[in-house]
């Protein structure tokens, strides 16, 4: 029952647009609902990266804790965004912290399971990697714009 309604959420999401039915079903079988309170830690830098997330509602801070400066948000992700790609590349550890800034609901996907299936079935692997590549490039573009400090004075 839960898988069926998760399936429809996944089908609706533009991220999985065009994915074959059997793959959608498989991905849905790796998914569960999750929710986080405001200020709750979602994952920490250095921990095993075994999942990725779809944010369905709320706001999450992707941040690093810097000695003497505390946690610094690099970027926030919100409703409709995908969070986490470290599950795809060895050593499969989180590079950043993630913390809910507001009450947040998400779908969490079992990365270990999906990874194993992708190794087995390279077609699925390609479909997943294609989609994650777009997410990464979008984030990279956005990060580069942030780096340019466009609103600063550059006299």
């Amino acid at each position: 029952m839960e898988t069926h309604s998760l399936e429809s959420v996944i089908r609706q999401h533009v991220f999985f647009d065009g994915l074959e039915d059997r793959y959608v079903r498989f991905v849905a079988s790796c998914a569960k609902n999750a929710s986080f309170q405001a200020n709750e830690q979602i994952f920490r830098e250095g921990e095993p990266a075994d999942n990725f997330y779809f944010i369905r509602e709320g706001l999450v801070s992707v941040e690093l804790t810097i000695p003497q400066r505390g946690p610094k948000t690099v970027q926030t992700v919100r409703e409709g965004d995908v969070l986490g790609w470290s599950w795809l590349t060895p050593p499969f550890l989180w590079h950043f912290d993630a913390r809910a800034l507001q009450r947040t609901r998400a779908l969490v996907f079992d990365g270990t399971c999906l990874r194993a299936k992708c190794e087995e079935d390279h077609d699925l692997g390609y479909e997943i990697l294609k989609r994650f590549t777009s997410v990464v490039t979008e984030r990279l573009d956005a990060t580069r714009l942030q780096l340019l400090d466009l609103y600063g004075t550059h006299a």
Binding site: G70, Q146, D149, L150, Y151, T153
Partner: protein, 287 residues
């Protein structure tokens, strides 16, 4: 729905290079480098009602003149409001003026944002940094006749939380009028619990209907370039996308030649442009 921003002919003086005198009635420090002046015409200075998106040339005695967008409510005519960022000698001198002081005003000049003709549309307003100032008069106009328009969405990005302009007003608008306002900063702070990241990331998942939307953009050119890409991905037609451009200006009346951008004079063909009209030269390096 094709619309050409119109040119309103400003300045009543017989010599369009001679300013009229205005008095500073109020001054507010918005951020560490940005301030707002409230101006009112002195006796004998006739003023022309402005359209949102237009600008004035403001003259500081003995220092010089700068083009500053009008950032206030057209309904407060003949009072004028200008939000200015300190970037050079004239703006620095202007920031040191106080209520009671006199400034010279020439204008209003330039084309304006399309508002009245866009009834029934979704408005997607994308502002970066000081770019919110020339867009603020649009928001006043939209709010004044709220029922005529559908969704009104403001996406505003700036450098840090302490650089956010018109913070109280944004809060008020968000709560009282049916507007969606998303604010984001490039660099967060420990107290900031909102969006961190460039404003272009807010466009993709924003709820508006591209075919019936009008997009208004104002901010650093690079930000506008990337915002345009996102709008294009969403399917907002170039004929329904408007940007405000900026170039060096010395006269504001099409004589000095400084503000040329391809074949356009920013002072009289702009500063507000319908995107398809400038698409051939927009984004080309050193044009």
């Amino acid at each position: 729905m094709a619309h050409m921003p119109e040119r309103a002919v400003g300045t009543e003086a017989s010599d369009p290079m001679v300013p009229l005198l205005y008095r500073i009635e109020g001054k507010k420090r918005e951020t560490h480098d940005t301030f707002t002046l409230d101006l009112r015409p002195k006796n004998g200075s006739r003023s022309v009602l402005f359209e949102p998106g237009q600008f004035n040339m403001l003259y500081v005695f003995g220092v010089g003149e700068v083009p500053i967008s009008i950032s206030g409510n057209a309904a407060a005519f003949p009072a004028l409001q200008h939000t200015t960022r300190v970037v050079g000698a004239v703006t620095k001198a202007m920031s040191l003026l106080e209520p009671g002081d006199t400034v010279g005003v020439r204008g209003p000049f330039g084309s304006h944002w399309p508002v009245a003709e866009m009834t029934g549309c979704d408005f997607v307003i994308i502002a970066g940094g000081i770019g919110l100032a020339p867009l603020r008069p649009v928001l006043y106009s939209l709010i004044r006749e709220r029922a005529k328009y559908r969704r009104i969405i403001l996406l505003y990005g700036t450098r840090r939380p302490e650089d956010i302009l018109y913070r109280r007003e944004l809060e008020k608008w968000r709560s009282k009028f049916d507007l969606e306002i998303q604010v984001t900063v490039d660099q967060g702070s420990s107290r900031w619990k909102g969006n961190v990241g460039v404003v272009t990331t807010l466009i993709g998942r924003c709820a508006f209907e591209p075919a019936h939307s009008v997009a208004l953009l104002c901010g650093p050119e690079v930000m506008m370039r990337f915002a345009l890409m996102e709008l294009q991905k969403r399917g907002v037609p170039p004929e329904q996308t408007f940007l405000s451009m900026e170039r060096n200006m010395k006269c504001a009346i099409g004589f000095c030649g400084h503000c040329q951008f391809g074949p356009m004079f920013i002072c009289k063909d702009g500063p507000v442009f319908r995107f398809d009209r400038i698409a051939p030269v927009f984004g080309k390096a050193e044009i």
